[in-house]
């Protein structure tokens, strides 16, 4: 950043070409150690994602009963895992915000909710596609499906609440309360839907005991999607920080 500014200000020196090159590299990989860490995380995630896609589509064995559509399982399960991880982070960050009143916890909660809502949507879509091919129906009111859908509604409501309150302390507190109450509601929802459907037999289509290559693919996919989630979380968090800073600057300029 500093170097870039000096270069633009200076008279064109003989080494201008190499300095422009250095600036380009800095723009690409970031100037500070933090930015470079994000770039590195992005690169690792990208490579892992390519390997995961190869493993899922090529390396994993074809399921005897379900055939090719079973491959969506390796996307669906990791994405669903990330969904619950994200909302656990929203919960923890919301508790921490109410306790410590540090706005960084609030940025964290909001970032996790934004990324988590996307992953919830993908969970619902991949699950629905898989259900269509295996169960023959896009949707069924199974406890897990129903709970995920309610979770989606709660966190879309959370994001709406955030956009209606703006970046105020009272908005952050209100959202933190929703982040906590919404998270506590999830197991209660699950239990009540399970009892509601208690007369229906539970349906499990994933046999326990996957072969080694399938289990390996699943584990690696879990790892990759967790990496992807961390990358998106970091970026969303930084966006929150920058936007808050921008709003403060705007407030100073206007007032």
């Amino acid at each position: 950043m500093q170097v870039a500014r000096e270069t633009t200000g200076g008279v064109a020196p003989p080494a201008a070409a190499s300095q422009t090159g250095a600036r380009r590299v800095r723009t690409l990989i970031g100037a500070t150690p933090g930015e470079r860490a994000v770039t590195a995380l992005g690169l690792v995630t990208g490579v892992c994602m390519l390997v995961t896609i190869w493993a899922i589509l090529v390396a994993a064995p074809v399921d005897v009963v379900q055939g090719m559509p079973f491959r969506i399982f390796y996307f669906h399960v990791p994405v669903a895992w990330v969904t619950f991880l994200a909302f656990f982070i929203v919960f923890v960050a919301s508790v921490a915000y109410l306790w410590r009143r540090d706005e960084r916890w609030d940025w964290m909660a909001r970032a996790a909710a934004e990324v988590g809502t996307i992953f919830t949507t993908v969970t619902l879509i991949t699950g629905s596609l898989w259900g269509r091919t295996i169960w023959g129906t896009w949707w069924t009111w199974d406890p897990r499906l129903t709970t995920t859908l309610i979770l989606w509604f709660i966190y879309v409501g959370y994001l709406m609440l955030r956009s209606y309150t703006g970046r105020t302390a009272s908005g952050a507190r209100t959202a933190a309360v929703l982040g906590i109450v919404g998270f506590v509601d999830v197991p209660i929802d699950y239990l009540s839907v399970t009892w509601w459907r208690s007369l229906h037999p539970p349906t499990t289509y994933v046999q326990s005991g996957l072969p080694a290559s399938a289990a390996g693919t699943l584990m690696f996919s879990l790892f990759t999607f967790t990496l992807l989630f961390s990358l998106l979380l970091v970026l969303a968090y930084q966006l929150q920080r920058v936007q808050t800073g921008a709003e403060k600057l705007r407030g100073q300029a206007e007032g």
Binding site: Y164, R173, V181, D189, L191, S192, W196
Partner: protein, 253 residues
């Protein structure tokens, strides 16, 4: 209770009322009765102001009746499907009417400014929460007293009042416990009428499921069903305790 005893109690209550929260409260009994008195004072104030106009009650009750009538057309009710549909319709009517009322009670406070004034009172925030909660339960209760007989008539469902009253009371407490908190949350935003239903419905799913199942078990008994009335009571306890604690953070300023 003797007369002197009564007088002493009253004085103690009065000192608690004007001292800041946490300072008063000499002894558990004094604190508890002061809490109850403070709560009832706010409830009485809300009831008085509602009794002057009766706007909220009449709108809520009318809306609940309209929902009952509209669902009657929407489901094309006949003898054979009434028992399956009626409990759900009853609770949807209650929940819709509740949301109408919940939005009003806290919104009215905001429009006229007394929520701030209420918060300036030297009372605990939990007192305000319970007062608003009781007020909301009473408001919804009035609607239910009107709607249940009409429901029984137009849906032609035999209503066993002895069984229905606990279910309705527990369900109403559950709706109001979450609703009071969320009405205060939505009141913090610019678009509270939009936001309240969007936020509250997903949270109310367990209460609605339990209440509907408990009600339909009254009409057509189900063998091997979950103990829905007990579950409803458990949900009430959970939601009441979370909301009572969380309310403090929502209205804090």
């Amino acid at each position: 209770m003797s007369d002197t005893n009564m007088t002493r109690m009253t004085t103690r209550v009065n000192t608690t009322e004007i001292s800041p929260p946490g300072v008063g409260g000499d002894g558990a009994l004094g604190t508890a009765s002061a809490f109850a008195r403070q709560v009832m004072a706010i409830v009485a104030k809300d009831l008085r102001s509602e009794l002057r106009t009766k706007q909220t009650w009449s709108a809520m009750a009318l809306f609940a009746l309209l929902v009952l009538v509209v669902f009657n057309f929407a489901f094309d009710l006949r003898v054979e499907n009434t028992a399956a549909v009626a409990p759900g319709v009853l609770w949807v009517a209650f929940v819709f009417a509740s949301i109408l009322g919940l939005g009003r009670t806290v919104a009215a406070e905001h429009d006229q400014g007394p929520l701030d004034r209420l918060l300036l009172c030297p009372v605990n925030r939990t007192v305000v929460y319970f007062a608003k909660l009781i007020g909301n339960v009473l408001f919804i209760g009035v609607v239910e007293v009107v709607a249940v007989p009409i429901f029984a008539i137009i849906y032609n469902v035999p209503v066993a009042l002895g069984g229905l009253v606990p279910v309705v009371v527990l369900g109403t407490i559950g709706v109001a416990a979450v609703g009071t908190l969320f009405a205060a949350m939505a009141a913090n935003t610019r678009a509270r009428e939009l936001l309240l239903p969007v936020l509250i419905f997903p949270l109310l799913v367990p209460v609605v499921i339990a209440a509907v199942r408990a009600t339909s078990a009254l009409i057509v008994p189900v063998a091997r069903d979950a103990p829905w009335v007990g579950l409803l009571a458990a949900f009430d306890v959970i939601f009441l305790s979370i909301s009572a604690v969380a309310f403090e953070y929502v209205v804090e300023d």
